[in-house]
Amino acid sequence: MFLKKTKKLETQIDEYLDLVIKGGLIFKLGIKCYLDHQMEAFEGHLKDLRKIEDTADDLRRNIEIKLYTRTLIPESRGDVLGLLESCDKALNITAETLLEFSVEIPNLLPELKNDYLDIAESSISCLENTVSGLRAYFKNVDAVRDYVTKVQFYKKETNKIAERIKRTVFRTDNELSFKIHTRYFTFHIERIAEQSEDVCDRLSIAIIKRFE
């Protein structure tokens, strides 16, 4: 009976992480639709992503309550909660970014379309590897290091692409407001990778503590 409850909680954690992965995929689709000017599809993806964000929030709270009320994994509880919350923040950033695209409708240079697709791909790769690292933290600690390395790699790639976009934009004859607006959106997509890296930093410390 004891193990049955534990299994249920395990499933909930897995479901939560699945939602984060789905959120990342939807974000990529959303950006692609925006760049292709398929606004109806884009709005559909935004709606889905916000729904996923809400469901993930509820699920995370539920997991946290269970961990505390049943005094489960007392020595790692703080770490797990911190990890889930900072992962949730990454998911929230994806939804916020897509929402800002919908609200502010930024005008992006057509020649930067591929760069934008690349930066979205790279930052979501960060998020996906973070989720894999989290799964490994629960089941296979030895594998966490590999995922952390991948996240660090993709984060650097994201930074490089962002720099490239900004350099290109600021070397055009467009208005400064346009340039700043473009930089602002690049920065937002970059934040997904930054937040994923934060989660991995916590993860690296948590695995050291795990078998002290």
Binding site: F2, T6, E10, T71, I73, P74, E75, S76, Y137, E212
Partner: protein, 500 residues
């Protein structure tokens, strides 16, 4: 039962209470401080298993303590237990990891010296070597178990929450095991000194289940330990257990398991029989320090994790405990016995007469002990240990072991063989028909010395002789003790033998 008996036993109960309060932290400290198990749950499990361990398996280590010194007057037992309780409390306050087991040994020797009774050097050596060996064995167990867990369980890719679940169950199981072993191993410290002066008589429940006086004593002692765990264990865990926060529940599980195994090794009579059956060296059944075993296990696990993290000063502290605890308790027992005997006029020893007979001389010669110088003492009766000892030492400088043998052979026990008692009380599954028949032939014979009784009853070497086969010899010795106890005329047995 005389009400004063309860007063005398109270010091043993106090000792049990303090033992429970202090040892709860070893049994469930990690589990409770890491919030894996609630204190209440831990205390209930621990209390139940301590009582069971004391009641069911407490006999093994007790005989080692009674061999060391058979305190046979209840005021003596009271004083010895009080000396132990005071010295342990005092040294614990001085932050020395001393144990009740070590203080008890010192206090019993204090009683021996005060009353002039000889100390069994053989038992003493056995006990002291076990103190040194037990933390080392616990360390080795801790090291091995931790390596096994790390290289198997932690590599099996089990979900963290499942490991948590298994660890919780594991902590409860090993905590219960450790409590059982601690009760069985340490009850001798709490109630062992009352064993020879047990105020309880045999109790029959529902006409078929008999509880001996000793078992009742142990049950009471076990309950005292359990009360100690319940009432004060939590407080000790909160103060002493702060360092345990650093120990993860899995490591805690390994430590408690290693500690419990060591306590069990030095307590289990069935394990001893198993080892003897398989021709393996047996482990002495000795009361150990639970705390020191657990410290040994902590060090073993530490070595397996990171040898540089070990604070080797702990060894020094344990070593100091081995010396300081017995000496302090011994001196205190001596002083308290003096007061109890001379100020409160209580009998701290039930004097037993000694007499060196011809047969005693013969036996001593066989053992290679000097007899010529004491030939003038033959057939003289001594009513006081001190006088007997003085007379012996005046004639020849016997060492402690030789003195023990002379006292052992010269004691007047009074035996009377009764064939009806033999038929009624000797279990036919244990004794052969020939053995019982031989005893019946001796009906009516009385002996004043145990060696005369033994020579008459166990004359048949084929049936009773020891041949070096340790298991057979152990069984024969146990049978001999049963027969000796059956026909020994003591205060309790007097009434029984009069009936027949």
């Amino acid at each position: 039962m005389d009400i004063s008996v309860w007063f005398f036993i109270s010091s043993g109960l106090f000792l049990g209470w303090s033992l429970g309060a202090n040892n709860a932290v070893s049994l469930f400290g990690t589990a409770v401080t890491s919030k894996m198990i609630k204190f209440r749950t831990a205390a209930i499990i621990s209390g139940i298993f301590v009582v069971l361990g004391s009641f069911i398996s407490g006999a093994g280590t007790t005989s080692t303590l009674t061999n060391l010194g058979g305190i046979n007057a209840i005021a003596g037992s009271f004083t010895v237990a009080l000396a132990v309780a005071i010295s342990v409390t005092w040294m614990t306050r001085a932050s020395l990891p001393v144990s009740t087991s070590q203080a008890v040994v010192g206090a019993i020797i204090g009683w021996n010296i005060f009353t002039g009774s000889p100390t069994d050097i053989n038992s003493l050596t056995k006990i002291i070597s076990s103190w040194v060996v037990s933390p080392i064995v616990a360390g080795i167990f801790g090291f091995i178990i931790f390596k096994i867990v790390k290289n198997t369980v932690l590599k099996w890719k089990i979900h963290m929450l499942e490991i948590d679940s298994y660890t919780r169950t594991g902590l409860i199981i090993v905590g219960a095991m450790a409590s059982y072993s601690m009760g069985a191993n340490n009850i001798a410290n709490v109630m062992g000194m009352f064993a020879s002066a047990s105020p309880f008589s045999e109790l029959t429940i529902l006409d078929f289940y008999e509880i001996s006086g000793i078992q009742q004593l142990f049950l009471l002692g076990g309950l005292a330990i359990a009360v100690g765990i319940f009432t004060y264990g939590n407080k000790v865990m909160k103060t002493v257990g702060t360092d345990l926060y650093k120990i993860s529940p899995i490591t805690g599980f390994v430590i408690v398991l290693a500690g419990a195994l060591v306590l069990w090794l030095f307590t289990s009579q069935s394990l001893e029989t198993f080892l003897l059956e398989n021709g393996l060296p047996s482990i002495p059944l000795v009361p150990l320090s639970a705390t020191q075993s657990f410290i040994g296990a902590v060090i073993g696990v530490g070595l397996a994790k990171d040898p540089q993290s070990i604070n080797f000063k702990v060894f020094g502290k344990i070593g100091i405990g081995w010396v300081v605890a017995p000496i302090t308790a011994g001196i205190l027992a001596y002083v308290l016995l003096f007061f109890v005997q001379n100020v409160f006029e209580q009998k701290v020893i039930q004097q037993v007469p000694y007499e060196i007979s011809e047969s005693v001389i013969e036996q001593l010669e066989q053992d290679g002990i000097e007899t010529e110088k004491i030939s003038d003492l033959v057939n003289k009766r001594f009513l006081q240990n001190k006088v007997f000892r003085y007379e012996l030492l005046k004639r020849y400088p016997y060492d402690a072991e030789q003195l023990y043998s002379i006292f052992h052979y010269a004691i007047i026990d009074s035996f009377k063989i009764d064939s009806t008692l033999a038929i009624k009380s000797l279990d036919q599954n244990m004794f052969s028909i020939e053995q019982i028949e031989e005893i019946k032939l001796l009906h009516g014979k009385a002996f004043s010395h145990k060696i005369d009784f033994d020579a008459a009853v166990f004359y048949d070497n084929q049936q009773w002789g020891l041949n070096g086969d340790r298991l057979r010899d152990k069984t024969i010795n146990e049978k001999k003790i049963i027969i000796e106890d059956l026909f020994k005329i003591t205060k309790n047995n007097q009434a029984k033998s009069n009936i027949y």
